[in-house]
């Protein structure tokens, strides 16, 4: 099976993030592979282990390739970085176009991606790539069965009050949800391999894309402004004795906190 996995590096949940200006964030330089993308890598590696074939991890990032090395350390065979100054701060539509341009002539059975990136939570790139490639896609799958002979997949996704079971033909794109599998801890020899791995770099020109197309897509979404979450209000101490303090607490919870 030929499998591609779309990966992204996102800020570590513990990284300090501040609003620098209306359209700019100041993000501490602590990044890690998107949690849902690691699940996608693991699912792809398991498919390769079961049916043979090749797993390629792919990212669009001008600065970081750790997610690609993570993929190699987990067992992926090849890593591709799409990088171009035009893709700096690109929105999901421009990124999807770049990925689809690379994949459109490639033979593949399966594309896997995370359900969403943990930074912008947009969840757009996976489905958008599938639409551009005109292949079926199912979001947020929690199980994956493949019949390589029949070129069919059976996937499950969680819906309200139950699970939805979907059969679809391959090639297809699935985005992966927590519960599908648990990402492995890489063996150190694979870590070494990943540290030394050559990353194939591609730019807009080599993908045969018109720069104006990317520029046009970049204009689709404009960030108007970032707003910091409200600061936590100060702690209010209730000094009265029991039972008066309980009455005051209930009143505050109802009227100020509005939680009861």
């Amino acid at each position: 099976m030929e499998i591609f996995v779309l990966v992204k590096q996102v800020p570590d949940p513990e990284a300090m993030i501040k609003v620098k200006s209306d359209s700019e964030l100041d993000i501490e330089n602590r990044y890690f592979t998107n949690f849902f993308d690691e699940i996608a890598i693991e699912a792809a590696i398991r498919m390769k282990e079961k049916f043979g074939g090749k797993v390629t991890v792919l990212t669009v990032d001008n600065h970081r390739v750790d997610a690609l090395r993570r993929g190699i350390s987990m067992g992926a065979d090849e890593a591709i970085q799409i990088t171009d100054p035009l893709l700096e701060e690109a929105n999901p539509f421009a990124i999807s176009r770049a990925i689809a341009s690379y994949l459109k002539d490639k033979p593949f059975d399966l594309i896997l991606a995370g359900r969403q990136a943990m930074d912008d939570d947009a969840g757009i790139v996976g489905p958008a790539v599938a639409e551009l490639l005109e292949i079926p896609h199912v979001n947020a799958i929690v199980s994956l069965e493949i019949d390589p002979q029949k070129k069919e997949a059976l996937v499950r996704r969680e819906v309200e009050e139950g699970k939805e079971i979907i059969a679809c033909s391959l090639p297809a794109l699935f985005t992966c949800q927590k519960g599908l599998c648990s990402p492995r801890i890489p063996q150190v020899l694979n870590v070494m391999k990943a540290m030394k791995a050559q990353i194939k770099k591609l730019d807009i020109k080599s993908l045969g894309l018109n720069p104006n197309e990317i520029l046009g897509l970049k204009d689709i979404i404009k960030i108007k402004n970032y707003i910091s979450p409200p600061k936590r209000p100060p702690v209010k101490m209730i000094k009265e004795d029991f039972p008066e303090n309980v009455k005051i607490l209930v009143k505050l919870l109802r009227e100020e906190a509005k939680v009861i």
Partner: protein, 386 residues
Amino acid sequence: MALDFTFTEEQEFFRQTVRDVVNRLIMPRVKELDEKEEFPWDLWREFASLGYLGIRHEEKYGGMALDTISQMIFYEELARGSCGFAMSVIMQVLMGTYFIARFGNEEIKQRILVPAIKGEKIGTICFTEDQSGSDLAGTRTLATKVPGGWRINGRKQWITNGPIADFTTVMATVDPKLGLKGLNFFLVEKKTSERDGFVVGQRLHKIGSRCSVTSELIYDNVFIPEENFLGEEIGKGVQYAAEILNEVRVMTAMNALAIAKNAMDDAREYAKNRIAFGNPISKYQLIREKFAKYWAWYEASWNYAYKCAWMIQNKIPCTNECMLAKYFATEMCMYAVEEAMRIYGGNAFSTEYPPQRYWRDAKFLLYGGGTHEVLCDYLGRVFLKD
């Protein structure tokens, strides 16, 4: 562009990978590891199965032969998890196997080094005795030449991994009167029905680094064959030890840096949430000063420790520098854990809160690689050119 403080992309990736392993395997168990005071065999096996015990050794024995800076990254990230577990792992990775890899013949390497890298055999190094430690010249464990090999007699104390060790690298003297010039290293395995060897003496209970088990080891007229002499020439043990002491000292600095950072990162969160007199205590200047002072010292000692790692990697003589790095980082760590205890106020005195664990673990770092009194006495003499 000669002065470059950046890690390579590969080193950054390696740090991220080790951090992930520590976060997933060790962090969830830190409190339990400290409280149980037992060697965590399940964690050891799982960790060993990933291959990290071979980071220093040649690839043909199952190792990775990583560069020194990456090794230091490994030590720093590992100690960020559990200092006790880090001590056991580092003993195996660095001191416990160094002389086997350096001087052991092929049969010894296959029999001992290869399973040690897999975590199947556990090793340690034995310097300390009741009257010697930083003062190696006081070593009394005696190696006597006999036909076909050596006989070892003596008692070693404070041996990390001692109760569970399968093999030891023992420092012993061929003649106590020779002082440092009489010292040598010998490979001695555990006594079994088939093999003469050491036996485990009293187990020591420690206030910190509690999941690394420590004990006395007893060598009672143990016979070892000639090939278990680890060296090229008799009397060069101290010279051989010096080969590794720089790494040991910078490794200790890395552990100190990790503990200090843990302590002050936790203290920062505590200070921002603990309300006193109507404000988070982080709003008070005396509390802020503790963080500012720590930050300055931490940054200075972190950069200096990595400079030393870089010097070792580039084979630049740096004995004094590595002593300074160990001294500075560990003293900085003492400041950080002490101030974290104060920031937590009365809660620091409860085992429910983490600063007491950092404080207890940090104390362990004062002694290995030379006590600070011995290091400072030496460094002072060097500085004064006495």
